[in-house]
Each structure stands twice: as structure tokens, then as C-alpha cells.
Symmetry: C2
Subunit: 251 residues, 2 copies
């Protein structure tokens, strides 16, 4: 069996896109129907395929366009103030400064979601404090960041205020007797749920990374769980490693 017509059209368009044609937009659906002698349904199936691959974006009443966005560097290790040892990973800070960063902050009490409760080691549905942020660069949302804390860790501190904390929330935690000494990072790759699509204004075919940080104190208590949602079309996650024993990597 040869591939279906819509897949052949998708392959042809994919090739032309790679070659740099269509830099000013694709032909209209009607023109493609004519050029390839296919029904509108088949043409649209091919275009939808490319939309879902993240190669195209469409604008109602206007047309289809090749998608290309600049990626911002997201460097979890910069949280440690050690970016200087990894020059390649340092541009996020500079880029963010150039790109007019802003954030919306909202602090509230919520029932811990199951996965957060499990990581925090609290009962399912126990009330915890969440600090929700949407971070923008140049007015474009590029990260959701929800930080969960057990109540005793943050109540009565500046971390409860819906405003930026200049000295850092982790510093506030430390002042309150909950200094963290270790963190576990997990990165999940998936398609966004409808709420994330809405809050981040995501187009079709845009996957996200869910970066979950679990912060431990020296005696092993979890005092912080962060869930950051990073759209794949506008973020690249970077971190550096310096190791004298790198040559021992198993391969």
C-alpha cells in the first residue's frame, strides 16, 4: 500500500517548508486543492497534521504560516547562583533582562494535588500554601510556576505575600528554620491540558515540559514542591556539568 494522499501532501509540504519556500505563508486551502487535485477535507487533513507537528500555525481569515519562535534559555542551576561556572548556560539571565521580564503572583491555600501531597509527604487533600506565578518576557507568557509549601514552613513569612521577594523565597524559608540542602529535579514531557493551553496561549502541536522540583532540608524533610510548566516552542532547558571523572561515563 502506498501512503494515503494526505500523508503524501504533508510530506511534500514538509519538504518545501524545510527548503525555505513558504517563508511568506503557505498557499490557501483552495489553491492547494487546485494544485494537488484533492478535496478540501484531504488538504485540511494534511495541514492539520503539520499543525500538530508544530511546524505550522494558522490564522483564521488570513492563512497558514511557518512557525518559528525564539527559544529562551531556562537554566534550573542558575537557582543556585552558580551559572558563572558555565558560561554557555548564562545567557538566560542576560536574555531575561533584555526581554522585559514580569510576573503575576497569587498566593492561596489549597488542597494539595495528589502528586504534590505524595512528594510533600502530607495526607492527600491536606491544606497547603501555593504560590502561583505566571512569568512573562516581553508580555509573552513563557512559564507557569506553582510552588507548594506545608503551612508551618511559610505561614507568617514574606512568602505569603503576593509580590516578588527580592531576597528569594528560599532565603525566607531558611530564615524560618527550613534551609534546603538538596533538590530532586524531574522533567516530564507531555501535551498540555486545556487549562495550560489557555493560560499560556499555546497553539496546537505545542508540547510542554513539566519540571517538578522537590526541595529537602538537611534532615530529609520536604519543604517545597515546585511545578513549572514550560512551553516547548519558547524554552530550552540548559544545565552544565563539571566533573573530573567524566571520562568514566558508561556507554
Amino acid at each position: 500500500m502506498s501512503p494515503p494522499k494526505y500523508a503524501q501532501l504533508a510530506a511534500t509540504l514538509r519538504e518545501r517548508i524545510t527548503l525555505g519556500k513558504y517563508a511568506d505563508g503557505l498557499p490557501s486551502e483552495a489553491e492547494l486543492m487546485k494544485e494537488f487535485a484533492m478535496s478540501r477535507t484531504t488538504v485540511r487533513t494534511a495541514l492539520t497534521t503539520l499543525l500538530n507537528e508544530g511546524l505550522l500555525q494558522s490564522a483564521s481569515g488570513v492563512g497558514y504560516f511557518v512557525k518559528s519562535l525564539e527559544h529562551f534559555e531556562y537554566s534550573p542551576q542558575e537557582d543556585f547562583g552558580r551559572a558563572a561556572v558555565i558560561p554557555e548556560a548564562d545567557s538566560f539571565t542576560r536574555a531575561a533582562a533584555r526581554r522585559n521580564p514580569s510576573q503575576d503572583i497569587e498566593v492561596s491555600f489549597v488542597h494539595a494535588p495528589p502528586d504534590v501531597a505524595r512528594r510533600l509527604g502530607v495526607d492527600d487533600g491536606e491544606v497547603v500554601v501555593v504560590r502561583r506565578r505566571i512569568r512573562h518576557l516581553d508580555g509573552v507568557p513563557f512559564q507557569l510556576n506553582d510552588s507548594y509549601y506545608p503551612r508551618d514552613v511559610v505561614e507568617g513569612t514574606d512568602a505569603m505575600l503576593p509580590a516578588s521577594v527580592d531576597r528569594g523565597v528560599n532565603r525566607v524559608l531558611a530564615e524560618n528554620g527550613f534551609a534546603q540542602s538538596r533538590a530532586l529535579d524531574e522533567i516530564w514531557i507531555r501535551m498540555p491540558n486545556p487549562e495550560e493551553v489557555r493560560r499560556l496561549a499555546l497553539g496546537p502541536g505545542t508540547p510542554v515540559a513539566e519540571h517538578v522540583i522537590t526541595g529537602f532540608t538537611a534532615d530529609g524533610r520536604v519543604v517545597r514542591v515546585v511545578r513549572a510548566i514550560l512551553p516547548g516552542d519558547r524554552n530550552v532547558i540548559t544545565f552544565g556539568r563539571t566533573h573530573p571523572d567524566l571520562e568514566q561515563v558508561p556507554s
Copy 2:
């Protein structure tokens, strides 16, 4: 305007899926047409939406099913043999051992792809050595791993052999005078291209992480660029951090 019919149906199905209905499969398209009084096109548009969200998988001639796969832990830092300091991040090694790991290896000379050439610091299209691997667990492909080396770094060494190198390729490089002391990690989140879909047997709505490792020697030369492709439906990337100054995190 109210949402279109297909979006309402998608929302209804999404909710039922979350509630655990449909654990044994969804109703057929014909049954959904009947239940919701919609045309087959509209029903299929809703189902296709959920397929592209990675919530469902379909089997021709059989039906639609809720998708759920176990995630394997991918821990770049284990490359350094330091996983022991991060107990939570150690299960990948154990899981891999339990899951009957295997890999196909192929070594060849190729013209460096543009992004690899840029990272290696060689001319565009210059001939380099690539070591391509597909790693399986229990027979399921869960990672593509292409390692690129300048010719002088690996020619005449065991790294050129299409077989596992027990002592590790990085050890081989070190023996050849190219010990690495530092690495830069980049993680890109995107939809897979058709070749990746084929080689990894990816279903629709399955995004991938592209993990690019750039390995430096002490004097700053790049001797290794690795591109690992990790399907999001079967991998979670983990790494741990231990820091006395964690409390200084800006927030």
C-alpha cells in the same frame, strides 16, 4: 459564542476519562454518534483532538483506548557514576536491569548536521564519526542516541566498533588523549519528525525531548556531541542537586 460541538464532546470525554470510566475502552464512533447526535466527522474531530493530546490511542478495527504507559527514569547525571548521592534518582539503573535492556549500534562516517557542526566547531558538512544507537527496554524502543565525534578523536579506537564498549566510550576517548572535564546539557521539547516517529514507533500526540550533550576537554575543545531523543510517553528525566547555598535561590 459557545464552544464548537466537537470541543464540547472532547471536554465531556476528557472528564469521563479522568473519572476512570472507559478503562476498558471507549464506545465506538457509531455509538458516540448516536449518544451525542453528531455526525461521524464531528465525533472523529473530538477523538482526534484527544489523540493529539496523548490521552487516547486508537487501534484500527478494534477501538479507542485510554493511553497509559509506565515512565522510565532517564538520569543524565548517572553518566558520572554519582547517582548514589541522590537515592531518588537511582531507580533507572535498577529499572533498566529489570527490564531487559538491549541496544542496536551502528558506527559510520557522515557529514555533520549543521547544529552538530556548530557545536563541534567544525565546518558545515565536514565528515565526522557518528555512533548511532537505539536503546530498548523489554523490546520497546525508548531512546535514540546519536554520538558525534571529530575523526581524530576516535579513529583507530574501540569507539569505531559497532558493539557495546564495556569500559565506556568516554574512557576510550580519555585513553586517546581527549579526556572530558565539562559538559553542557540542553533539553529541547518538540514534536517528533517522521523519521523519529518511525524509529521509535511513536503514536500521535507523543512529544519528545531532544537532549543534546556537548562534551569539553579541560582546554576547551569539544570532542563529543550527543543527541538523545526521548519519547515523552515513556521517559521522565531526573537529576538531583546538593547545595549548601540552596537557600539563596532568587525567587
